[in-house]
């Protein structure tokens, strides 16, 4: 496993944890309120919704069908285009192995 500092570039807000170089998502180290402005991969974004501790946002634009990569490993695929800075969860990501078991509504 990579160290928790791996890939955390200075162009991404320290409240976000980038787990490995090449990941296309980052994880919130603590809850971040809706409307907060953040640096993400050098771009300025405003959170559209609160980001819960441990939840994920996109580090770059991700096309529909593309793999979501965390810790260097694919954890599923995008079911719609995901913009840099957008929330990444079971409303826009599907497992390659099994249908998500939690209703999309529950995550929103």
């Amino acid at each position: 496993m990579a160290s928790s500092e791996a890939g955390a570039g200075s162009d991404t807000d320290p409240r976000l944890l980038v787990l490995a170089p090449g990941d296309n998502i980052a994880v919130a180290r603590s809850e971040i309120a809706a409307g907060t402005g953040l640096s993400v991969a050098g771009r300025r974004v405003t959170l559209q919704r609160a980001l819960g501790f441990g939840h994920k946002i996109a580090l770059r634009d991700i096309a529909a069908g593309e793999k979501i990569v965390k810790y260097g490993a694919p954890i599923g695929r995008a079911t719609a285009a995901i913009a840099l800075g957008a929330y990444v969860h079971n409303h826009n990501v599907a497992s390659d192995y099994m249908p998500n078991t939690v209703a999309v509504e529950a995550a929103l």
Binding site: M1, L17, K56
Partner: protein, 402 residues
């Protein structure tokens, strides 16, 4: 760091126990109440209730009970039968007797019913506990330990802190020739390719892949993977994402073999416990809750269980101490009384993976030297065993033995 001196009770099979308990085992749910009543006055002094609730016999449950009743942490066993259930109680009794342990079989129907069976059972347990308290211990090495690992109540922190830290502790244990066991094949889906590369032989690698494929098929048939709403609330999106975190518990050692519930690792190293039944889907979910997996790890000889939790599980277990490694610093702050290790410090940047891994390793040895875990101190002795069916492991599963 000064060396921690573990001591154990030597059993006739050569294994050593780090506890010296009397197991009170019900052989059907109808004998559960009587068993609980028998053990209750001695619950803090070494009596633990285990059992199988079903009336219909089951080969897996019999093997589990045989292994649990002859576990190195068990010094004596009281079997409590209603009298008419299908469990092969004579065979279980003989297995225990042949292991050199005192054993008594009380059938409620033959002993005057509830009240008098409780009285007879308590008298027997009390006498056994007194005898066990006089048994001597011997020095015990890390290489004589079997340690299992599980995660429960996972969230997004589990895979970031506690699981990789427990993986590090597993690496330290394997370096000192302990046997370590990881499981949850249903939570390794998507990791099988990486896992196969760590196998000590290519044939074992194929078996590892087949093992995960079996789990995937099984859960698909059930229409429900091992993924709970709480996992999604905590930020985990897919089974693969959860798997990635769960996989980290195995550390970085080579994988020495695959075992099934009740198989005891033949020597030190890292083993995968295949908990998913063989054959057609029968009897429902493979593991209906965390304690079903803990019971299987203990049946494989685990002396201690490392349990990682993010959301905050509180369970312990009958027969073997459970060390709770808390992944989430907020959960730790809320539930510190239930947690043995705060791995959330990794997320806060106040400790690294190696430090926490070493802390877990040292705690295993302290618990082996007699220190109580948090769940032990709080009296947790959960136990559950349900129906399953297994084929024996194939020849490629334990390559070093062949």
């Amino acid at each position: 760091m000064s060396e921690i001196a573990m001591r154990g009770w030597r059993r006739a099979d050569g294994r050593k126990g780090i506890r010296n308990y009397v197991a009170v085992a019900y052989l059907v749910e109808c004998a559960h109440h009587v068993s609980k009543e028998i053990a209750w006055p001695y619950r803090e002094t070494g009596a633990h209730v285990i059992g199988f609730p079903g009336c219909y016999p089951n080969a897996y449950a019999l093997k589990m009970m045989q292994r649990l009743c002859t576990h190195p942490n068990v010094g004596a066993v009281l079997l409590v039968s209603l009298g008419c259930e299908g469990f092969n109680k004579k065979l279980l009794e003989r297995t225990i007797r042949e292991s050199g342990r005192p054993v008594e079989l009380l059938a409620i129907q033959d002993n005057g019913g509830t009240r008098s069976t409780i009285e007879k059972g308590r008298a027997w347990v009390e006498a056994q506990l007194k005898a066990l308290s006089e048994q001597p211990t011997e020095p015990m090495a890390v290489s004589e330990l079997v340690v299992g690992t599980i995660c429960g109540g996972s969230d997004a922190t589990s895979g970031l802190t506690a699981n990789p830290a427990m993986g590090r502790a597993f690496d330290f244990l394997v370096q000192e020739k302990a046997a370590t066991i990881f499981e949850e094949t249903g939570e390794l889906i998507g990791m099988e390719g990486w896992m196969a590369e760590r196998a000590v032989t290519p044939e074992l690698g194929q078996e590892l892949k087949a093992c995960v494929a079996k789990a995937a098929r099984y859960y698909e048939t059930l229409g429900y993977p091992s993924f709970a709403p709480g996992n999604a609330d905590g930020g985990l999106t897919t089974i693969e994402e959860k798997s990635l975190g769960a996989y980290a518990k195995s550390g970085a050692s080579p994988i020495s073999g695959i075992i099934k519930p009740g198989d005891i690792p033949p020597r030190g190293g890292l083993y995968l416990l295949d908990v998913v039944p063989d054959g057609e889907v029968r009897f429902g979910f493979p593991n209906i809750s965390d304690n079903a997996e803990i019971a299987e790890l203990i049946a494989c000889g685990s002396h201690v269980i490392l349990f990682s939790t993010g959301r905050g599980s509180v369970v312990g277990s009958a027969l073997a101490p459970v060390i709770k490694v808390c992944a989430n610093p907020r959960t730790y702050a809320r539930m510190a009384d239930d947690m043995d290790v705060n791995a959330g410090r990794i997320l806060e940047g106040t400790a690294d993976l190696d430090t926490v891994g070493r802390e877990i390793f040292d705690l295993v040895k302290q618990v082996g030297a007699g220190a109580a875990t948090k769940s032990e101190g709080l009296g947790h002795q959960e136990f559950i065993l349900t129906y399953k069916s297994f084929e024996p492991i194939g020849p490629a599963c334990l390559p070093a033995v062949a």
